[in-house]
Amino acid sequence: MNIETIQEYLPIILKGFWITVHLFLWSLLFSTVGGFILALMRLSPIATFRWISAVIGWLFRGIPLLLLLFYAFFALPAISRSLMFEPFWAAVLGLSIWTAAYQSEAIRSGIISVEKGQIEASETLGMTKRYYMRRIIIPQSIRIMIPPFIGNAINTMKQTSLAAVITVPEMTLLARQIISEDFKVAEPLLALASIYLLLTTILLMAQQGLERIFRLKV
C-alpha cells in the first residue's frame, strides 16, 4: 500500500462525494420532518395517532436498512409502476423512513424530558397547548435532543454507503469499481474511509456548535 496510489484514487472516489452528501442531506431533511410528526403523534391524546406512530417505529427499526432499500428499489415497482423511482430517490426513501423511526424517539425523549412544571406554568397563564408546545416546551427540548439526534444523523451518513447495492453511484460504489478494475483493495478503501471520517467529524462539530447555541445561560 502506498500513499501515492491513495492520492490517485481519491479524486475518482470524490466524484461520488456530492451524491453521498445529497443522499444524506435529503434523508436528513425528510427524516427530521417525519420523525417530528411521528414524535408528536406518539404524544398525541388521540389513541389512533399514538398507535400508528408506535407501529411505524416498531416496523422500521426492526427491519434491516438493506432490506428497506431493496424493497424501495425492487419491490415497490413490482407493486405498481407508479412506485418506480430512480435509484437515488429509492435510496432517499429507504434512508428517510429508517432514520425517521429513530429520530422520532430522539425527539420524543427530548419533549417528555422537559419538566412538568413548565406545562403547568404555561397552562396557568392561559396559554393554549399548541402555543406552549411551540414557544415553551419544544425550544427547551431541542437542547436535550441534540446528542441523540446527531448520533442518528451520523449513523445515516454512514449508511448512505448501502445505496451502492441499488446502483446509486455514490462513493462506496465508485470504490468498489476501482477494486474490481484494479485489483487494489487497501488503497481505495482507505481513501473511502477517510472521506466518511471527515464527514462524520463535521457532524460532530455541528453537534458541539448546536449545544453551544442551545445551552442555557448560566
Binding site: G117, Q118, P139, K217
Partner: protein, 263 residues
C-alpha cells in the same frame, strides 16, 4: 357582596387516598387568607384545584363569578370547558414553590410572553408594563438576565411579576419561600406584603407563621384533608381553640432549625 373565591365541599382523591375531604372556604375581594397546616394536610392540593391543575372529585368552585367545577345531581363532576378554563385562568395568578420560570427566556421575556400571547397586548406595551413590574419587585436592573443567572429569591420575584402581568383578580401562592435559601425568604415576603397592602386578593399556603400573622386577614388551619380551625389571624395563631391547632403551632415554634429545610 359575593365572595371572589368560593369553594364548597371540595373533595379530591388520588386513587383510594382522599386528600381533601370536603373543604369550604370563601375569600372576599381584597382579603388575604393564609392556609397553614402540617405536610400532607392538603394545602397545596387546594391551590392546585383552584385552577384545575388537579381535577376535584367532588364539590364546587367559583372564582370571580365563573364556575370552574360543580357536582351534578348524580355526583358526577362537571368542569369548565377548555376554552372557558383558559379564560378563567387568566384571572388567577399562581406562584409555584419551584418558580417554574421559562429557563430559555430572560426575566423580561418571561413576563411579557403571556400578556402578548394570551391577552394580545402589543410588545411595547407589554415591555413597559413588565419593566414597571420588575421595578416594583426590586429587580429593575435584572430584566435581561436568564433565570439560572438569578438567585432563588430573585427568580421567585420574577415569577410573581410574571403572574401579576396578567392582571389577575386573585393571586395564589404555593409555599413560595420553601425552595429558597433562608436569607432570601425576606425579600419574597416583602413583595407579597406590598401586594397585600395594595389590596390584592391573596390565598397563601405558607409555613411562615410570622408572615401569616402580620399580613393575613384570616388564617385557616388544615389537617388531614379537613379545615380544623378558621378565623382572624390573631385569633387562630394567637389563641387557637382546637387542640390540633395548638399542637401544630407549638411544634412549629419549638422546631429545631434543621426542620426548616424539610418543610
Amino acid at each position: 357582596m359575593a365572595s371572589l373565591v368560593s369553594v364548597k365541599g371540595l373533595k379530591k382523591s388520588f386513587g383510594d387516598l382522599e386528600i381533601l375531604k370536603g373543604i369550604d372556604l370563601e375569600v372576599q375581594r381584597g382579603e388575604v387568607l393564609s392556609i397553614i397546616g402540617p405536610s400532607g394536610s392538603g394545602k397545596t392540593t387546594i391551590l392546585r384545584c383552584l385552577n384545575l391543575l388537579e381535577r376535584p372529585t367532588g364539590g364546587q368552585i367559583d372564582i370571580d363569578g365563573q364556575n370552574l367545577c360543580k357536582e351534578r345531581s348524580g355526583g358526577e363532576m362537571q368542569f369548565a370547558t377548555r376554552s372557558d378554563l383558559r379564560q378563567i385562568r387568566k384571572g388567577i395568578g399562581l406562584v409555584f414553590q419551584q418558580f417554574n420560570l421559562f429557563p430559555h427566556m430572560t426575566a423580561l421575556e418571561n413576563i411579557i410572553e403571556a400578556p402578548m400571547a394570551v391577552n394580545k397586548v402589543d410588545r411595547s406595551t407589554a415591555v413597559e408594563a413588565a419593566r414597571d413590574l420588575l421595578e416594583s419587585v426590586g429587580l429593575g436592573k435584572w430584566a435581561d438576565h436568564y433565570p439560572l443567572q438569578l438567585s432563588g429569591g430573585q427568580q421567585q420575584r420574577v415569577a410573581i411579576a410574571r403572574a401579576l402581568a396578567m392582571e389577575p383578580a386573585v393571586m395564589l401562592f404555593d409555599e413560595v419561600t420553601s425552595a429558597v435559601d433562608p436569607e432570601l425568604v425576606g425579600e419574597i415576603l416583602l413583595v407579597m406584603r406590598q401586594l397585600a397592602e395594595e389590596g390584592m386578593t391573596m390565598l397563601v399556603v405558607t409555613h411562615e407563621m410570622n408572615f401569616a400573622a402580620d399580613v393575613s386577614d384570616r388564617v385557616l388551619f388544615m389537617d388531614n384533608g379537613v379545615v380544623v380551625e378558621e378565623g382572624p389571624a390573631a385569633q387562630v395563631l394567637g389563641a387557637p381553640q382546637n387542640a390540633r391547632t395548638q399542637g401544630f403551632l407549638r411544634a412549629v415554634r419549638d422546631r429545631a432549625p434543621m426542620d426548616e429545610d424539610q418543610q
